[in-house]
C-alpha cells in the first residue's frame, strides 16, 4: 500500500539493521560521527554501500545523516563523502547546515534531501522554505505538540517526519563538558566518555530523572530522561497524513528496538487495513514495556504540552 507512512529507525550496526528490517522497519537512518549528528553507531562508506544493497533487495530505503554543524575543514571532504553516498545508491541524505545543500547540488543533484535541524525545525513555512531550496522532507522538532503537528500538515509542501519513539537530544555543546568537569575536580577520567560509558546527570531538584550525557568529537550531548512513546495516539498522526515515523534507536538494545519496531508496524498495518475501525491494542506495547529500562519513563514527550515563553 503506497499511502502507508514510512517506519524509519536509526541503527547502530549491520546486524541491528538486519534484525530491524526483519521486524518490519521500512527505512533506516545511518551515518558517521564526522558528518552526522548523534548516530547510535558508526557506518563507514563501505558499510553504507553494503547496507544500501541489503535494504534495496528488500524494497526498503536507507538515508544517511549529514546533519552536523560543519566546520571549514570538513567542507573540503564533503564532496567526496556525498559522491560516495551517491555511488552507494542511498535514498537520501539529512542535512541541517546549508553548506551541505551546495555540495549536494554540485555532486549529486538527483539525491533526495531531508531537512533535519532538530529543535529548530518548528514551523511549516520554514520547512517549505527548505523545500524550495531542494528538500523533499522536513524532520519536525520534537518540541512541537500534537495540535501544532496536525495543524501543519495541510500547509506542508514537503513530507513530514515525526519522531514517535525513543529519547531526544536536549542540549548540544561544542565543549567537552564531562572532561572539563573531571579535570576541574582533579580526577581526570580514564577511557572514553562516549555512548557506551553510561554517564548521566541528575539535577538537584529532580532526583528521579536520569539525563544521559556523552561526549564525542562533536562535543557534549545531553539526552532526555524519558522516552517518547506515541503509539497509543499514532492514529492521530496517521489521520493527519504524516509521511514518516521515526524511531530513535540510540542508547537502546537491539532487542528493545525490535520490540518497538514490531509494535509500530502492527499499528501502521492495522490502520492502513481499515482506518475506520482502527483501535489501539494495548498488547502491542507489552514487549516494549517489558524491555523498557525501568529507570526511564515512557511518555508523550511534548505532544500534549503547552509551552510558554
Amino acid at each position: 500500500m503506497s499511502n502507508k507512512p514510512e517506519l524509519l529507525v536509526t541503527v547502530s550496526s549491520m546486524e541491528e539493521l538486519r534484525r530491524l528490517a526483519e521486524a518490519g522497519a521500512d527505512a533506516f537512518l545511518v551515518g558517521e560521527e564526522r558528518y552526522g549528528m548523534r548516530m547510535p553507531g558508526e557506518f563507514t562508506r563501505e558499510d553504507v554501500a553494503e547496507a544500501a544493497a541489503y535494504v534495496h533487495a528488500q524494497g526498503k530505503r536507507i538515508y544517511v545523516a549529514v546533519n552536523n554543524l560543519m566546520t571549514n575543514d570538513v567542507l573540503d571532504e564533503l564532496p567526496a563523502y556525498i559522491a560516495a553516498l551517491r555511488d552507494a545508491g542511498v535514498d537520501g541524505v539529512e542535512f541541517g547546515d546549508p553548506s551541505v545543500l551546495a555540495v549536494v547540488r554540485e555532486v549529486a543533484p538527483e539525491m533526495a534531501l531531508h531537512w533535519n535541524a532538530e529543535m529548530t525545525s518548528t514551523n511549516s513555512s520554514t520547512a517549505n522554505y527548505w523545500g524550495r531550496k531542494g528538500a523533499t522532507r522536513a524532520v519536525l522538532a520534537r518540541e512541537l505538540n500534537m495540535d501544532e503537528i496536525t495543524g501543519m500538515m495541510d500547509k506542508m509542501q514537503v513530507e513530514a517526519q515525526v519522531q514517535v519513539h525513543g529519547m531526544t537530544n536536549i542540549y548540544h555543546s561544542k565543549r567537552q563538558l564531562v572532561q572539563s568537569y573531571m579535570e576541574h575536580q582533579g580526577r581526570p577520567v580514564s577511557g572514553d566518555l562516549g555512548l557506551q560509558r553510561g554517564l548521566f546527570l541528575i539535577e538537584a531538584e529532580r532526583r528521579d530523572e536520569k539525563f544521559p550525557i556523552y561526549e564525542d568529537s562533536n562535543g557534549t550531548h545531553i539526552m532526555s530522561s524519558e522516552d517518547i512513546c506515541i503509539l497509543e495516539d499514532l492514529h492521530l498522526l496517521m489521520e493527519a497524513g504524516v509521511q514518516s515515523f521515526k524511531i530513535e534507536g540510540i542508547l537502546k538494545s537491539t532487542a528493545y528496538n525490535e520490540a518497538v519496531v514490531r509494535a509500530y508496524r502492527q499499528a501502521i498495518d492495522a490502520y492502513a487495513a481499515d482506518p475506520d475501525r482502527y483501535e489501539f491494542d494495548e498488547e502491542w506495547l507489552d514487549e516494549v514495556r517489558r524491555l523498557q529500562d525501568p529507570e526511564r519513563e515512557l511518555g508523550f514527550g511534548f505532544f500534549y504540552k503547552e509551552q510558554v515563553y
Binding site: T122, S124, T126, Y129, G198, L199, A204, Q292, Y309
Partner: protein, 452 residues
C-alpha cells in the same frame, strides 16, 4: 590571557572602514547610555519575536524616540527578531516588520528563514542580519546566506579566529561576532533544557538558564546489558535500586562542586588587535538584561581600545584601566571563548556564583554649575557623605573623591541620599557633564561573601 604568540590575521573588513561597536539596549534609557558612551549601533527587542521575553522591551513609539536619539550621534538601531517561529507566530510578522521599518530601524537580526523571507518581501528598507542562533560556523554556509540577500552574518560563538580568517577569505559579506558578555554554553538554539524542565520555550525567549543549575554526574553501575534493557533486565527491583541510588556510581566526592554547563563570560578586550586584523566588521556586546552601569562601562572600554588601535596600530598598548573598568561592572569571571582554543576546565563556572557586581551605579550627573563646582545628581543607589566614589564619563573622564555635604533640591542638607531618582546637589572635585556617572563600591558583596 596571552595574545603574544598567536598568529597574526590579515582579513579585510569589506564594507566598514572601522569595526562597528554594537551594544545591547534593554530599554530606552540604556539605549541612550550605550550610544552616548560610544556604541556605533545598538540592538533592542520589540514586543514580539525576540529572545528576551522577560526584558522591558520597546514599543514602536519608544523605538522611534530611540532612532531619533541615535540619529543625532550617527548611530543605528537594530531589532532582534530571532525566535524560531511556530506556525501560530507567523501571522503578525509582516505587519510587525513594516512597523519596524516605519520606526526607522536599520536592521533586524533573524534566525528563522521564514522571517528572512517576509522581511525581504515586505520591509525592503530593513537590512536582514543572520542571528547567531543559526550557528553559522563555516564559509559555505555564510556564502549561502549572502546569496539569500543578507548583507551580514553573526557567526556562531564556536568559531575561532583562524576560522573567521578563512571565512573572510572566501566570502565578501559583513561578519559580526560576539566579543563580550554571557554565552550559551551550547550551540545557540540547540538547547531545550528550559523546555524540558519548565515548559518554557528557549527558542522563543523563555530560556530559564538551566545550564547554570547544579547537577550531579554519575556512571551507570548496572551491567551495560541492563541499562540498555536486555531481556530479563526489567523488573521492579531495578527501579527500587535506582531510588536507593544503588545503580549510581557518583563521579564526584562529598565536598566536590557539582557538575555545571555554565560558561564564564566572554571578554575580548585584550585581543582587540586580533579582532580588528582578522576583519570582523561588527563587534557585538551581549547583555540586553544588564544594567546601565554595565553597558556604559563596557562600551566605554571597547570604544577607547578600538579608537586607540585604529589611530595608531603600531604603537597601540592596552591600558590597564580599561580592563579594571570592565571588572568593576562584571559579575562573572571572564575568558576568550572559542577564539583561540576550545574552552576547557578553566572556562566554566563550578563554584557557587557570586552575582554581586563589584561597583554600583550610585548617581547620574544631570547638571553642573561651573561657578560653584556643584553638580546635580540623580540618585540611582544609596550614598552618603564620607563614602568613596568615582565619576566617569565617555572617553577617559575619570576621577575619585569622597562625598562631602549633600543637599536636596530645596537646599536642605541630607545625611544620606536614600530615595531613587531624587535630585541631589553636591560639590565635585572636577568638572562633570550631563550623562557622566557616579559609582561606588558595592558593600553588599562583602556581606554576601561572609555569609557563604
Amino acid at each position: 590571557m596571552n595574545t603574544m604568540d598567536k598568529p597574526k590575521y590579515f582579513g579585510k573588513r569589506h564594507r566598514l572602514a572601522k569595526p562597528e561597536l554594537l551594544a545591547p539596549a534593554g530599554n530606552l534609557e540604556k539605549l541612550k547610555f550605550a550610544i552616548h558612551y560610544g556604541a556605533d549601533a545598538v540592538y533592542i527587542g520589540g514586543q514580539k519575536y525576540g529572545l528576551r521575553s522577560n526584558a522591558d522591551n520597546f514599543s514602536f513609539e519608544e523605538m522611534r524616540e530611540g532612532v531619533e536619539f541615535a540619529n543625532k550621534y550617527g548611530a543605528k538601531v537594530f531589532v532582534a527578531t530571532n525566535i524560531y517561529a511556530h506556525d501560530e507566530d507567523i501571522d503578525g510578522i509582516e505587519e510587525y516588520l513594516r512597523n519596524l521599518e516605519n520606526a526607522g530601524i536599520s536592521a533586524i537580526i533573524v534566525a528563522d528563514p521564514t522571517i528572512i523571507e517576509i522581511a525581504l518581501r515586505c520591509a525592503p528598507k530593513l537590512e536582514v542580519h543572520l542571528s547567531t542562533q543559526q550557528s553559522t560556523i563555516n564559509w559555505q554556509a555564510v556564502k549561502f546566506w549572502k546569496e539569500e540577500g543578507l548583507p551580514r552574518v553573526v557567526l556562531g560563538r564556536e568559531t575561532s579566529l583562524e576560522e573567521i580568517a578563512e571565512i573572510k577569505k572566501h566570502v565578501d559579506v559583513e561578519i559580526e561576532a560576539f566579543i563580550h558578555g554571557a554565552m550559551c554554553s551550547s550551540f545557540s538554539g540547540r538547547c531545550v533544557l528550559s523546555n524540558h524542565f519548565t515548559d518554557r520555550d528557549s527558542n522563543r525567549g523563555g530560556c530559564c538558564q538551566s545550564c547554570r543549575w547544579k547537577y550531579d554526574l554519575f556512571e551507570d553501575a548496572r551491567p551495560q546489558t541492563e541499562w540498555v534493557s536486555e531481556e530479563e533486565a526489567a523488573d521492579n527491583r531495578v527501579l527500587e535500586q535506582f531510588r536507593l541510588g544503588v545503580n549510581q556510581k557518583p563521579l564526584y566526592e562529598e565536598n566536590d562542586n557539582p557538575f555545571s554547563m555554565g560558561s564564564k563570560d566572554l571578554c575580548m578586550l585584550e585581543a582587540i588587535p586580533d579582532l580588528i586584523e582578522v576583519g570582523i566588521d561588527s563587534f557585538k556586546i551581549e547583555g540586553r538584561m544588564k544594567s546601565i552601569h554595565y553597558v556604559a562601562t563596557v562600551v566605554n572600554a571597547y570604544r577607547q581600545a578600538i579608537d586607540s588601535y585604529m589611530a595608531d596600530p603600531e604603537n597601540y598598548v592596552l591600558k590597564p584601566e580599561w580592563l579594571e573598568d570592565i571588572n568593576k561592572a562584571a559579575n562573572r569571571p571572564l575568558n576568550t571563548g572559542f577564539f583561540y582554543d576550545t574552552p576547557d576546565n578553566e572556562d566554566h563556572i563550578y563554584e557557587p556564583e557570586d552575582k554581586a557586581v563589584p561597583y554600583d551605579f550610585a548617581g547620574l550627573v544631570l547638571d553642573y554649575d561651573e561657578a560653584t563646582g556643584i553638580a546635580t545628581i540623580q540618585q540611582r543607589n544609596n550614598f552618603k557623605p564620607g563614602q568613596e566614589i568615582e565619576f566617569f564619563g565617555p572617553g577617559n573622564t575619570f576621577f575619585k573623591q569622597t562625598v562631602g555635604q549633600i543637599w536636596d533640591e530645596e537646599g536642605n542638607e541630607l545625611d544620606a541620599a536614600r530615595h531613587p531618582l531624587q535630585k541631589i546637589k553636591m560639590k565635585v572635585d572636577q568638572p562633570v557633564r550631563y550623562f557622566d556617572m557616579m559609582r561606588k563600591k558595592n558593600v553588599k558583596k562583602v556581606k554576601m561573601s561572609a555569609a557563604v
